[in-house]
Subunit: 196 residues, 2 copies
DNA sequence: CGTTAAGCACACAGGGCGGTGTACTTAACA
DNA sequence: TGTTAAGTACACCGCCCTGTGTGCTTAACG
């Protein structure tokens, strides 16, 4: 990503408190949820004084938004840029998620915050749309008849697998991948050369 | 507005407090979420004194569990028993949800509580499995080749539509229904003309 | 060096939360 | 009519939460 923006201060000074804060937020918000993670606990994990946190962020809400903004999902960045895969394989690779992943943090944030106006909720929407768009791009590249529709469908499958995995406490991504394969085969011209 | 934090409106409401509590829980937990609904607020909405609530329920956790248990999803329970529809139509009717529905409360509860051991989380799991099972039954009735698989797939689609609707604030069920139709057509013996 | 700002320690405010204690009132029914 | 169970009023507890105020330390850099 961009290593230019290091925050509002953009300073070369300091001992890196901001980064420690964000990385602690990544871990705790993800593992315990946003509402169940207190600022005191977060400060302790980041090895940062509470005062410092509130000098970098106006409040927890801003930190939450930054947490989502900085969350770099291996899915999006890792999968779509793999040139060693065919477009079709890239679409399917989006369903190969490590089982450690508890739940898409964007869904979790939208549910926990429960406020569509919250900056983090808005960012979650943007992100979901971006993923669907990238899926649509790849679908177009693969030669799908209706790439937008296929992208939206695959995005829905990913979200369904994430939600279901969370509720059932059992990996639902294989099921989603199976559906995805069927949809892709339906959408691509049958004569297309892909290994089956 | 300012008087919201008070209990009954002076005039005694008499018996039947328990039902009022549960129905207030249905509304508030669903509209605002579980964590954002305080017991004081709930008492005010139910027009019940706080003491009464804690004579009926040992704590908020038990009330939450009862809330899920009593949640009667008009959609699903109504759909599976409709004898005027063919099995295939019943499977598709599960995706005709009123847009008023904000989010499947079982997913919301699992995310908000964030504890797989919580009674409500366990019930959410049971419910999700039961829905998948009923979908599988109907799929079998419709003559699907692998009913269990189709049931699980359709259940995943429903959850995906619910989650995505919540995050994007836009109805995703039509997309899910389209996928469902494709899956069903793939799974059923092609000879059937979609009628009986 | 000295200056500057990043960071620290820590108490505390203010409020909401879930939950209780206690004494009281009333509806329902035998 | 008397008894009893259901409901009430409301102050109160302890806890944890986000967020501040204040004075101090220390690293970076000219």
């Amino acid at each position: 990503m961009t290593e230019l923006e290091k925050g509002p201060t953009g300073s070369r000074r300091g001992r890196g408190a901001r980064e420690r804060i964000i990385s602690a937020a990544q871990q705790l918000f993800r593992e315990q949820g946003i509402n169940r993670t207190g600022m005191n606990e977060l400060c302790a994990a980041a090895e940062v004084s509470k005062r410092t946190v509130y000098q970098h962020f106006t409040g927890k809400d801003e930190l939450v938004a930054e947490y989502l903004r900085r969350f770099d999902p291996s899915v999006l960045s890792g999968v779509f840029d793999r040139t060693d895969l065919t477009p079709r394989e890239r679409l399917l690779a989006a369903f190969d998620v490590p089982t450690t992943t508890p739940l898409c943090p964007y869904i979790a944030a939208a549910v926990e915050l429960h406020d569509p106006q919250h900056p983090a909720s808005q960012y979650a929407r943007d992100y979901k749309k971006a993923v669907a768009a990238r899926l649509a791009d790849t679908a177009r590249e693969a030669g799908a008849a209706d790439p937008e529709q296929l992208g939206e469908q695959l995005a829905l499958l990913i979200d369904g697998a994430a939600a279901r995995t969370r509720v059932l406490d059992a990996d639902a991504f294989p099921t989603a991948a199976a559906i995805a394969a069927a949809l892709i085969d339906n959408a691509l011209p049958a004569a297309a050369g892909h290994n089956r």
